[in-house]
Amino acid sequence: MKHLVPEFDVLRRRFPAGFESSLVLPCIRRIQEDRGYVADSDIDGLVEYLGVPRIQIEEVLSYYTQFRRKPIGRWHVETCRNVSCSMCSAERLMAHLKGKLGINPGETTPDGRVTWSTAECLGSCGTAPVMVVNNRYHENMSIAKLDTLLGGLD
């Protein structure tokens, strides 16, 4: 994570003095964008850079759904399955996705191409069902749109 320190320094200037602890979440997010996951060496680096206890970083990593300690597939497909999406065909969409990918939610295709996760409400209920692929929203999904989307994931 050392090469990200200049970026962290810029971020730090927007926070009041003494708010180093607050930088834990944004730094982890940036590290994960860069590496794809958070490695042991990243935790060591953050402990040194921010001066926060290691346990705080471990707690944050194990608490928040979006953070991960292991690599995932090249494409991270997330399907919302909360109330409004379920009421607008998310369950059918997920059954189709399962058939197409041959995996269950939480798993990665054997070729390392796609990791599929389920998500709870993504704040997109008016354009349900919603899917997220590598952090980008895809709204008003249908089986046909899903097939097109999957075709573009190389």
Binding site: L25, Q66, V83, R92, A119, G123, C125, G126, N135, Y137
Partner: protein, 432 residues
């Protein structure tokens, strides 16, 4: 349009979210007025007199919350906009973040001036992509124009702002959990007292307001409390952004003036039910508010008093429309799975209770329900109520009790016959 609008007053175009367009609509003029001609206490008084209520779910008076902050206590005060928007069915703050980010920023500057805040924050849920990009771009525009930083508009007023991204925790939408997260920790809610306006972020007085609540401040200061009170009803002044979804013809975000008839909103403004189905039930303000039956909806107006009299609440304005033929057992299963997933684990009744309720409803849906299961769900709900730090466990209980009180026969049918009374789908596939 369901009544007169306060926020959705301009056409949304490809550039309506930019600083140039916002200025062309008179944007940041109210900030000039506030800083140059008003004392901080005058602003809080105006917001109080306007009767502005919280728009995130609890409907607490914004003026009363602000009034707790002591302007002469010689310590830092903080302000935080709650843009976590995680309550299922809610996507209304997203409209402000995407289409009117500068209205939020100007309102926050006015609030920061009123509360003598040097550092303000916007806590935005981690999944939001476009809303975050729009907000981040607006913040850079506002800095470049001199609205943030030192010596704002040539005065001694100084304020910095940070858009802080969450990372996928529902509980961080609760104000104290939000502040724990903003301190770079797990989003654990905290016991009150002390109130957050006494000891909040890093133990300093902190005001946490919902995005929409704050967005109304600029209008109130520009036009006065009396003008704001000319919208809505005597006890529910103003409007609410309602995000409507589910089995409704034209889902989306609508601004509803308080006091507007709910049935008229559904059938005239939102195009009625999909496939011409009948309305079976309605969740008025996010899944944590109690469900109303189709019959109950007919006589309700959309405001705090009428919805409260009907046994529910405005909540977060996340309205979910449920058509006749939808299986309420399956619906409750989705809801309890969600609450189980989101329990932060701090308090035993919620940590254990949510899992227990989830296992019971899964068993019922699997056709292995037992006669005592429904009363057990109600018991667990009651054991949670008031026994946890935050309201999440309570809310899951209210939602469960609400559905069981009105649709118990469906659950009994499911247990007795090992299948849904309907086709078991939550999706509304065709006309009945």
């Amino acid at each position: 349009m369901p009544g007169k609008p306060l926020l959705m007053t301009f056409p949304v175009t490809a550039t309506s979210h930019t600083l140039a367009d916002y200025r062309a609509r008179g944007g940041y003029g109210t900030l000039v007025k506030a800083i140059s001609s008003m004392q901080p206490a005058d602003i809080t008084k105006e917001v109080s007199t306007a009767g502005l209520l919280g728009h995130g779910g609890a409907a607490f008076s914004a003026g009363r919350k602000w009034g707790v902050v002591n302007l002469n206590d010689r310590q830092p005060h903080y302000l935080c906009a709650n843009a976590d928007e995680g309550e299922p069915g809610t996507f209304k703050d997203r409209w402000i973040l995407e289409n009117a980010p500068h209205l939020l920023l100007e309102s926050m500057l006015i609030a920061a001036y009123a509360l003598q805040v040097r550092h303000a924050f916007i806590y935005i849920r981690g999944e939001f992509d476009v809303p975050y990009q729009r907000l981040a771009a607006a913040i850079e525009e506002a800095y470049a124009a001199g609205y943030f930083g030192e010596r704002i508009l040539g005065t001694d007023f100084a304020c910095d702002i940070v858009a802080y991204r969450g990372a996928g925790s529902y509980v961080c939408g609760e104000a104290s959990g939000l502040l724990s997260s903003l301190e770079g920790k797990r989003g654990y809610p905290r016991n009150r007292p002390p109130r957050l306006t006494v000891q909040g972020l890093y133990k300093r007085p902190t005001v946490v307001n919902n995005v929409e609540t704050l967005a109304n401040v600029a209008g109130i200061i520009a036009n006065g409390a009396a003008w704001y009170k000319s919208f809505g009803t005597a006890k529910s002044p103003g409007t609410q952004l309602v995000s409507i979804s589910g089995h409704i013809a034209t889902p989306g975000v609508y601004e509803v003036e308080y006091g507007y008839p709910l049935a008229k909103f559904l059938y005239e403004d939102c195009g009625g039910m999909v496939h011409g189905r009948k309305l079976k039930a309605l969740i008025p303000g996010g899944i944590s508010t109690k469900v109303l039956t189709g019959a109950e909806v007919q006589s309700v107006t959309f405001d705090h008093q009428s919805l409260s009299a009907a046994g529910s609440s405005v909540g977060s304005g996340g309205m979910i429309v449920i058509a006749e033929g939808t299986c309420m057992v399956r619906l409750l299963q989705v809801m309890l799975r969600f609450y189980h997933h989101e329990s932060c684990g701090q308090c035993t009744p919620c940590r254990e209770g949510m899992g227990w309720m989830h296992r019971i409803i899964d068993r019922v849906v699997a056709g292995e329900g037992r006669a005592e299961d429904l009363d057990r769900l109600i018991d667990i709900s009651r054991w949670n109520d008031g026994n946890t730090i935050c309201g999440m466990g309570d809310a899951a209980g209210y939602a469960t009790i609400g559905i069981l009180a009105k649709f118990r026969d469906e659950f009994e049918y499911f247990i007795a016959n090992k299948r849904s009374r309907f086709d078991g789908n939550l999706e509304c596939l065709r006309s009945s």
